[in-house]
Amino acid sequence: MLENVKSVILVLSGKGGVGKSTVSTQLALTLKERGFKVGLLDVDLCGPSVPHILNLENENIHQGTDGWVPVYLDKEQRLGVMSIGFLLKSRNDAVVWRGPKKTAMIKQFLEDVYWQDLDFLVIDTPPGTSDEHITVMENLRQIPQCSAIIVTTPQEVAIEDVRKEITFCRKTGISILGIIENMSGYQCPTCNECTNIFSSGGGKSLAEISKLQFLGCLPIDARVGKLAGQGLAAVKELPDSTTSKVLNDLVTVLAESIQNGS
């Protein structure tokens, strides 16, 4: 399984709505812009956001001889995407499944997608520490090139759930690459005053407490929010934004890790 993938990156968070999907898609887009071959797998079965964010909502998955063919964002096939969203008939359809069925679906996603040779496979996960996560971890445990990025928002309510996710990673033996803090501050478009709507610094102190690398702060940027639905890379559209800087730094860290690994 996934023998042709150099590095697998799990994007995790105990908390929902902290920006896992936004970070996953922007990370994948940044990697693509930097010339890597990337796969993006959305294992959030109940709330798949990736097809919408990348503007691929009406695309279909095809069954090829080697397995499911992912949906490609670009003609050069440098970014392939797989999500249950492609399998739902209507965007309003709900996946009302219990655990075992979700488990089977995720196994299929991990085993039956024909990704071809990839530099990075980014896996976007749902919130929590339950069926989906246990399944992903069980399957990825034997893959040495797998590591996790934890996304949090600064407020304590979120940090509390994220601490549980770190415990989860440690219990299941997945190495953690580091923590990203999202929604750090909001710059008023009128007066440029920065307000920490959800307080600030929570991600950094969490990284210190749990002895993990801190990968940076992404501010709340309505311009990045508006890119959702268009499939555009923040690093390309908003090259001067803090978001792009943090993403570029992160990709540099990741690029070094695969060079050292291979």
Partner: protein, 336 residues
């Protein structure tokens, strides 16, 4: 053949089939054993238990959202405090059914409290004179402890919470849920709904069937304005429709942000597709109101203080909250 229950897993062979309870699709179905045994079983004993336990609860409200981090728990705690302040003679309970990420103990300022188990069940923790809370957060040893459970174990816990908490007489029970449309939700709906039904005597535990008794006052669906969130919330509304759960209405959270410096309003999470208002119109559900994105509210949630007691002057949140409460109370009263 119509012996496939409406709420069965896909590829259910049907309750009368020879493969009933034995096909691969049956794995994980809560009725697998019932089907496999070949004899029509009685009702799930838990349904009766929960029905009895919750018979003293007048209004049971599920707080749902397909999306995480939109403010379900914040809204639940605001509602709890709001109802408790508005009706000093009524009792309000909050059940935190988010097993993997319980937030209520922190938001209500009762972290680290102990719950006790007595002969009559779990005693909830009292946040105020007439506001009580039960959460799995009380049962975890350390804040780092993770609950790494698969579906069936979580269901067992929720069943226990619904059947074994000694709430006493309650006027309102607010049930805070985790994001998604999965196990917890199925069971929450299933059991709570069953609690109001008198005759529960069929072999197949059909949620739809139990719902006809309307033990559940309804669901409150929370969203934020951006399409990424609405996309998941639509699924949740569809889920309610599939299971015949009445939607009391949608609350839009984090709608506008008022800069504390220049007082200008801006959209932090842009409603590129018309926000919750457009969605509600399209799906024909009532929109109860919109709450602004307010840093003070986030602080209150973190520190466990009641936002209502902070009494921020001219707070839009309070005005909006009052209107939302009016509508919820009216909707609940109209059913009873």
């Amino acid at each position: 053949m119509s012996n496939i229950p409406e709420n069965a897993p896909n590829h259910c062979p049907g309750t009368q089939s020879e493969d009933a309870g034995k096909a691969s699709a049956c794995a994980g179905c809560p009725n697998q054993n019932i089907c496999a045994s070949g004899v029509p079983a009685g009702p799930d004993p838990a349904i009766e238990l929960i029905k009895n336990r919750l018979s003293n609860v007048k209004h049971k409200i599920l707080v749902l959202s397909g999306k995480g981090g939109v403010g379900k728990s914040t809204l639940t705690s605001l509602l709890g405090h709001g109802l408790a302040a508005r009706f000093p003679d009524k009792n309000i309970g909050i059940l935190d059914a988010d097993i993997c990420g319980p937030s209520q103990p922190r938001m209500l300022g009762v972290r680290g409290e102990q719950v006790h188990y007595s002969g009559s069940g779990w005693s909830p923790v009292y946040v105020g004179d007439n506001l009580s809370l039960m959460s799995i957060g009380f049962l975890l040893g350390s804040p780092d402890d993770a609950v790494i459970w698969r579906g069936p174990k979580k269901n067992g816990m929720i069943k226990q919470f619904l059947s074994e908490v000694e709430w006493g007489e309650l006027d309102y029970l607010l049930i805070d849920t985790p994001p998604g449309t999965s196990d917890e939700h199925l069971w929450g709906v299933h059991y709570v709904a069953g609690a109001g039904v008198s005759g529960t005597s069929d072999e197949h535990l059909s949620a739809v069937q139990y719902l006809s008794g309307a033990g559940l006052s309804g669901a409150l669906v929370v969203s934020t304005p951006q399409e990424v969130a609405l996309l998941d919330v639509r699924k949740e509304l569809n889920f309610c429709r599939k299971l015949d759960v009445r939607v009391l209405g949608v609350v839009e959270n984090m709608a506008v942000f008022v800069c504390p410096n220049c007082k200008s309003r801006s959209e932090v999470f842009p409603a590129t597709t018309g926000g919750a208002a457009a969605m509600c119109e399209e799906l024909e559900v009532p929109l109860l109101g919109a709450l602004p994105l307010e840093p003070l509210l986030a602080r209150a949630a973190d520190s466990g203080h009641s936002y209502l007691q902070l009494q921020p002057p001219g707070s839009q949140t309070l005005v909006a909250m009052d209107q939302i409460l009016d509508k919820i109370v009216a909707a609940c009263e109209s059913t009873s």
